[in-house]
Symmetry: C2
Subunit: 312 residues, 2 copies
Amino acid sequence: MPNPRLLLCALLPALIAFSATSAAAPEPTDESAKPLSVQQILDASPASDWRAPDPDNTLYMDLDAGRVVIELAPQFAPEHVANIRTLAKEGFWDGLSIYRSQDNFVVQFGDPTGDEATRKSLGGAKAHLPAEFERVDPALNFHALPDTDGWAPQVGFVDGFAAARDPATGTTWMAHCYGALGTGRDMAADSSNGAELYVVTGQSPRQLDRNITLVGRVIQGMPLLSVIRRGPEPMGMYDDPGQRTPIKAIRLASEVPAAERIQLELLRTDSATFDAVTEARRNRRDDWYKVPAGHIDLCNVPLPSRAPTVKP
Amino acid sequence: MPNPRLLLCALLPALIAFSATSAAAPEPTDESAKPLSVQQILDASPASDWRAPDPDNTLYMDLDAGRVVIELAPQFAPEHVANIRTLAKEGFWDGLSIYRSQDNFVVQFGDPTGDEATRKSLGGAKAHLPAEFERVDPALNFHALPDTDGWAPQVGFVDGFAAARDPATGTTWMAHCYGALGTGRDMAADSSNGAELYVVTGQSPRQLDRNITLVGRVIQGMPLLSVIRRGPEPMGMYDDPGQRTPIKAIRLASEVPAAERIQLELLRTDSATFDAVTEARRNRRDDWYKVPAGHIDLCNVPLPSRAPTVKP
């Protein structure tokens, strides 16, 4: 009988190994020729392949269960991000809640009050913003994947954010992958202002791409959001306020004392290390895998993070 | 300021509308030409487009939080399904647990005991089975999607199960979509026996396709599995048995008194209604969507179910 601990390990992504050889190459036969594991690739990476997120574009969402860390994407949604920064500085979300959790889709938070007269004031933030569904900006640092995608002509990453591009029109947009942060809107394209936010917790709903403004992604703490009990009402809503998840505070990291900030480094998605990690996942070369896929979906690409390495 | 209730509705998949017209067709301009919603399509479906799952191939997994209903796929994994039926009849999983919950990946259950001497006996079930990663069976009722897929030459559905196919080799295999049920294995391809099972709870890990035996899918109750708190140890394991989720029982529906069975009908995936629902999701034509995707991923296709309609 197989050892059940090994049965478990067999499904562990972190154990998946890597080889720079093509899918048609023969398996290595000696120990020295073994493909590097993802961890070995990361361990060998130069410090320059990592970056610390900008505290001015980092949000801390504090729940009773812990802290969710979000990186904002001003390169994609400058007006929404500016508004969100204002809302965070003024404590807009403090004391509000996650009022929706829909299975295999999103959690959503903000002020669920339908009556405008009693809704929480937006304070110094703007009530109306333009839609920021896509960008035409040659300065965007788009790092393309070679992999085909059914949703877009081209996919890749911009500064850590999963994105898609249409070379014919020169437009680039963020993609709805797990952990993406977006802004709820009404029927009009320009009806979002950043006060109502959602995070993708299910199978990538890419049909929303180019239909709604994405503003960032969760870089730490997804397990705090993904396990929130699904709301019993349609769309995963909770009519009973007592079932909602309270938000203690949402703050910009730059507004939090330096000693209380989360120290985190993210692998640069335009680095050789990132390419090597992605290839290790595209063609898995360890002994467990019998058929390497030869492909990776945009939303399956790992985005490694780590605690900062201390220099001696 | 937009009404936040509308902001929420805007993200509701069930409200998405449908049109049989092509992506290039002009938007309808009068009320009568409005595209049908998914619900309207389902409401207009003939009874013959629905089926009741076979109680002999349906599992009830009873947790403290409620019942998870699983449909087995003997057309893909006859030997594993036969073993699982034996294990269920003999109560193998009763009193065992979900001992792993890894964020954006899987939950896994069975007997986590590493020591073979103290592991739960497989009873009348076989300890060794052949790998059942893919099938060469012209009788499989493969209903192809027109949509491109990066993981496989062709994708579609077989009797409600998301699947992929390689016309060049004549092989068909089940796909790792949300809710797929698979069998843990060791390094050897033929080292699974159906006692250790996992359910996909995250972004479709399609790289596992053709590398492990899938045996069915969850047809009701995913929210009971998807919210299980992620295990604190590597791979989402719980070293503390008190943190695991107890399994009260796993039974074949056919072994449960008829009056206690879940009454459920599934939309046939080879029906015209299914094609219409899929098209409604591929090209969303309601007023909220500004850019219909013109594409749907295999793992985003909805698989509707309903309580049986009572005949007058």
